[in-house]
């Protein structure tokens, strides 16, 4: 018998070693066309040809910074200038310089061949000039980062190398040119024009032109095989927007209805609105009839799946070397444990002294599946920047180790709507529905909550206690009274209201009975992904104190979703995603029934949504006020940001929420501890930590640097 297993053991080893040799990691490249140059691949860093000294005898430009503008007046946009604009304002002539060497793997893994052309040819004719925050940085160093995993959305660090046509500046209000040199709406917001930079190049040196944007829109977004339904961000007035090329650097977008929100969306989103046409053509069936065969040979169903292997909304949703980028850092090395991005030799931004950015040689992102590991890495000083997946509960440990870990903790607020509850106002059980739809019930439930204690237990008292409104308090038209209404802890009044509603009968344990004499039990079904379950344990206690019996049950997120999407839940308690100005404005779904997303996190009013979407064919007709709300939001969506109409319609929306108590707020989203290593320079104070403005992007990570 033992021999049998001994042999089994040996066999295992043999199989194992066979597997070992069989599965060597390989570089992934599209196999349509050989991309190798054929010549010997250089493995050493490529020296850059020396820059010719400027011939003109004009004054060199002042190295102004945000902290010390050195007398250079502000330009059109905060903290950045166009080249000619800066030269004019500072009365100087800028000469450019760059780092001596670029990462050798840009040649081995990438797309670079031979010697790099001189810097002048790599920069656009009109590079973007940015003012660093504190000082001109020095080249070099690695930004060490960590995430829980490689899929899109796990990594806030995407924003550290992201580029888009426009972006938000650090006031979170002004939208400034970025890849685009300028943008312009027509008067009624039905046309938007972008002008690109002449001579702008992809990271492989290929010119970046209006064609790359057209390809992205016409051949990717509008391709029905790639996107069976056009994502709603590109649809206005019921029709997908239309795009037209004026010349190589000018593109014009037309909308069927005013679309003032599109610019906001492009500025805040992680979606890049351009694709290197010269690279993706060969993967696209319309340009390469053999695209399907290639996909099948690679083991996939068709060209669509293969195309998505190289393309995705998230810039980290594919893991392939050699895709041309405009980003500050380019993927040069990746394993399942980490990935390394190295400085892009063709990056289009320079600092005020004419140094080509980025300063950082490399960005290294490690993966640690467990959040505890991330915390340990932070306190032992192995991480330069981290915010995502660090919660306030970690503060005691983080605070204790700031010295040994050599970091500073910033505490910017998040932009979520905070933890909220909804009693299902469209409950299937008519008795429960009548109770839950009554704003008095929600008011009683709100008064029964001891929010200060919740704040203390969940948030060390650092959150704000507030009422539930799907509009962030930082939004320009927010009324402070919305957030203060009925948030005091007053169980006596809560009891009175419940008695007044006729819920006076109680059972042997002191719990209230339903008006029909049946036991009144509310099931609070929750999933941990929606936030710390401790909140539910606390609210159970508060609500039971006023005689409302609560049963808790934890389920997986998928199960929670199924429950709410078919309107079978008693309580809705999932996140309402971003509610900051940029998001509510460019996508105001949280303000409409079912006050979350219809299928993913319905709070209440699912049947109303169905009725609305089907034009009354299915679902249930909502009350007049809800219909009015829907109209209101539709009107508001097309107003011009910060205009009078925008403010008044927005405020009316908020008032309706405040009145109807569809959402019961507890505490605001907690502050987001943000770890910034003391060796990192030019990182300002982060004012808001959220994907709504794409994390670090407003703080211009391309000018961060490692201090010596």
């Amino acid at each position: 018998m033992y021999k049998k297993t001994l042999f089994r053991f040996l066999a295992l080893l043999i199989v194992f070693s066979m597997l070992l040799t069989a599965c060597k990691p390989s570089t992934e490249e599209p196999v349509v066309e050989p991309t190798e140059g054929g010549g010997p691949v250089p493995t050493e860093a490529k020296p850059v040809e020396p820059t010719e000294p400027s011939e003109t005898e004009e004054v060199a430009c002042p190295a102004s910074t945000v902290a010390d503008p050195m007398g250079v007046p502000a330009g059109t946009w905060p903290q950045q200038y166009e080249l000619t604009e800066y030269e004019e304002l500072a009365n100087c002539k800028m000469s450019f310089s760059s780092r001596e060497e670029f990462h050798p793997d840009l040649w081995t893994h990438g797309f670079l061949e031979g010697d790099l052309p001189p810097l002048e040819e790599r920069l656009p004719a009109e590079p973007l000039v940015v003012q660093p925050y504190d000082e001109i940085g020095n080249y070099g160093g690695t930004l060490r980062m960590v995430s829980i995993g490689p899929e899109g959305g796990n990594s806030e660090h995407l924003s550290a190398k992201h580029v888009s046509l426009v972006r938000f500046s650090d006031d979170h209000k002004t939208i400034v040119p970025f890849v685009a040199k300028s943008y312009e709406y027509n008067d009624d917001f039905t046309e938007l024009t972008f002008v690109l930079r002449k001579g702008h190049k992809w990271s492989d040196g290929h010119p970046f032109t209006a064609d790359d944007i057209l390809f992205w829109y016409n051949d990717v977004i509008l391709n029905e095989e790639l996107y069976p339904s056009t994502p709603s961000y590109w649809v206005f007035g019921g029709e997908p927007m239309r795009m037209e090329k004026i010349d190589d650097v000018t593109i014009k977008i037309y909308f069927a209805a005013p679309a003032p929100g599109l610019l906001t969306f492009i500025a805040r989103s992680w979606i890049q609105t351009f694709v290197p046409k010269h690279y993706f053509e060969k993967l696209h069936i319309e340009y390469n009839p053999e695209a399907n065969d290639v996909a099948v040979a690679a083991g996939l169903a068709n060209w669509v799946e293969y195309f998505y292997k190289f393309h995705g909304d998230w810039q980290d949703s594919y893991h392939v070397y050699g895709i041309p980028k405009l980003e500050s850092h380019i993927l040069v090395d990746e394993t399942t444990e980490y990935k390394i991005h190295a400085a892009n030799p063709y990056f289009f931004i320079v600092d005020t002294a004419g140094n080509q950015l980025p300063y950082l040689d490399e960005q290294r992102e490690g993966y640690a599946p467990d959040k505890e590991i991330i915390e340990l890495m932070v306190i032992s000083g192995e991480v330069d920047y981290k915010s995502q997946s660090i919660g306030v509960t970690s503060l005691p440990v983080l605070q204790e180790n700031t010295e040994s870990g050599n970091y500073t903790i910033q505490m910017p607020p998040g932009a979520g709507a905070g933890r909220m509850y909804t009693f299902n106002c469209t409950h299937q059980d008519p008795v429960l529905r009548e109770i839950f739809a009554d704003p008095r019930f929600s008011r009683a439930m709100s008064l029964a909550l001891n929010r200060d204690e919740i704040n203390q237990v969940l948030c060390f008292g650092l959150c704000r206690t507030q009422q539930g409104i799907p509009i962030h308090p930082s939004v320009s038209f927010a009324k402070p009274e919305w957030y203060l209404k009925d948030i005091e802890y007053d169980p006596d009044t809560a009891n009175e209201i419940l008695d007044e509603m006729g819920l006076t009968e109680r059972d042997a344990d002191g719990f209230r009975l339903r008006p029909d004499g049946e036991p009144f039990v509310i099931y609070n079904v929750y999933c941990p992904q929606a936030g710390d379950p401790v909140l539910h344990e606390l609210t159970k206690e508060y609500w039971e104190d006023v005689g409302i019996r609560i049963e808790l049950k934890e389920v997986t997120t998928v199960n929670y979703r199924t429950l709410t999407s078919v309107n079978e839940h008693d309580i809705g308690n999932f996140h309402i995603g971003g509610t900051s100005e940029a998001v509510v404005y460019s996508n105001p779904q949280a303000m409409l029934p079912p006050f979350g997303d219809s299928a993913l996190s319905a709070m209440c009013g699912g049947p109303w949504y169905d009725w609305w979407m089907s034009d009354g064919a299915s679902g249930e007709e909502p009350p007049e006020q809800v219909k009015y709300l829907i109209d209101l939001v539709e009107q508001w969506k097309v107003t011009i940001p910060y205009s009078e109409e925008y403010v008044s319609l927005g405020q009316e929306t908020g008032d309706i929420f405040s009145e109807n108590f569809w959402l019961i707020g507890t505490i605001s989203e907690s502050p987001q501890p943000t770890i910034v290593s003391n060796r990192l320079g030019n990182v300002p104070e982060i004012k808001i930590q959220t994907f709504d403005y794409f994390r670090t992007l407003p703080y211009r990570p391309f000018q961060w640097y490692i201090k010596e």
């Binding site: 005691p396 440990v397 605070q399 204790e400 204690e453 237990v457 060390f460 379950p533 808790l552 049950k553």
Partner: protein
């Protein structure tokens, strides 16, 4: 066999028997039943005795969790969140000795700068520990409504193992967790036992084709790692089930995966016993199949089964805690060892609130006790033991 199996030497009054040399001790030894022999030998195994007494204590905890817990496991002490264990004192500030232990009043305040709790003992307030004291009301076994707890303090509070993130008494929670997890463990063990015994029994008794199929089934089950099976099965439990129902299903799932070892053991034992001399002898003597199985076969492999069972117990417990770790096992508000240990599974607990780890002591003690008893039985039932 000179050793009289740990027989205590109390029987001094020796009676003159038919054969004068025989003491009462020896007579007792030679006429003892198998069970008695095992018990005598078992008593010699000191760790097994220790294990038995630990198990007895656990049984008391399981039966009277509400009574011996100083508090309701859900009662929050909001003034003592993440409170460290209180020290039991016998000697007060003046140096006077008190026979009745007491605790001092404690405050636990959050430092808004460091976010750490500062714990200060207030020696002016002493609370003597009292027995049979009034506390949180509860229903014993769901019937008897009372508020008497085995021990506690009046007016103040008593947290001998400290408190958790909501200020709930960890000792009380550990007692309730013991009740849940031990029941799960034991029920799971019994499920495993029946599955293994029946499948292994059928396989071994019928042999042939049936045996072939069961063997393949066992091989197949064993070749799939437990974790995905557990996850698939646990995740496909209907979502409308109550936590209690989920709780029982999980034990059943654990058993569903754990039976293969025992089934193999039973089968091979049965196969070899079929050919054993004493069984053949019994057959020749005309015993019925049932009698052979019950009287001759079962006793001779019972000890192996017991050992296997005592090994499968930690498996049940660890599986429960692991499932809780990946969010599929028992979840709050159910209190189990897995749930409690999960709350300590973070850096903050290690560096700031190490007392959150205390429930692991219960787990260790239970695993030790079950294995000691298993060892004891094995050694006692081992026919070759000296």
């Amino acid at each position: 066999m000179a050793d009289l199996g740990g027989l205590s030497g109390t029987g001094t009054a020796s009676q003159p028997g038919l054969r004068g040399l025989q003491t009462e001790k020896e007579l007792k030894y030679y006429t003892a039943t198998q069970a008695q022999l095992i018990w005598w030998r078992f008593k010699k195994h000191r760790l097994a005795l220790l294990g038995t007494s630990i198990l007895a204590i656990f049984l008391i905890i399981v039966l009277f969790a509400n009574f011996i817990s100083p508090m309701d496991p859900f009662t929050r002490n909001s003034n003592y969140i993440f409170g460290p264990p209180q020290k039991l004192h016998f000697i007060d500030e003046e140096g006077t000795f008190h026979l009745r232990p007491f605790v001092y009043g404690v405050t636990n305040e959050l430092d808004p700068e460091t976010f750490q709790f500062n714990t200060v003992e207030d020696t002016s307030q002493a609370y003597p520990v009292q027995f049979f004291i009034k506390g949180d009301p509860y229903k014993l076994w769901g019937i008897i409504r009372t508020d008497i707890h085995l021990f506690g303090v009046e007016d103040g509070f008593l947290h001998l193992l400290g408190t958790d993130k909501l200020g709930r008494d960890l000792l009380s929670r550990a007692f309730f967790a013991t009740r849940t997890s031990l029941t799960i463990g034991v029920i799971g063990m019994l499920f495993t036992f029946f599955l293994g015994l029946i499948i292994g029994g059928i396989s071994g008794f019928f042999g042939g084709r049936v045996d072939d199929i069961t063997q393949r089934l066992i091989e197949f089950t064993r070749s799939i790692p437990d974790l995905p099976l557990l996850m698939a099965l646990a995740a496909s439990l209907p979502k409308e089930w109550s936590p209690l129902r989920v709780y029982f299903s999980i034990t059943f799932i654990l058993a569903l995966l754990g039976w293969t070892n025992l089934a193999r053991r039973v089968r091979s034992k049965l196969l070899s016993l079929r050919e054993a001399d004493f069984i053949i002898a019994a057959k020749i003597a005309g015993s019925s199949d049932a009698r052979i199985i019950m009287r001759h076969m079962l006793p001779s492999f019972m000890s192996y089964i017991i050992v296997d069972l005592s090994i499968s117990f930690p498996y049940m417990i660890i599986a429960e805690t692991s499932l809780s770790f990946i969010g599929l096992g028992l979840r709050p508000p159910v209190i189990s060892w897995g749930v409690l240990l999960n709350e300590s599974q973070n850096i903050k607990a290690i560096s700031q609130h190490p007392w959150l780890f205390s429930p692991v002591v219960f787990v260790i003690l239970a695993v030790l006790a079950f294995n000691f008893v298993g060892d004891g039985i094995r050694d006692a039932a081992d026919p070759y033991a000296t």
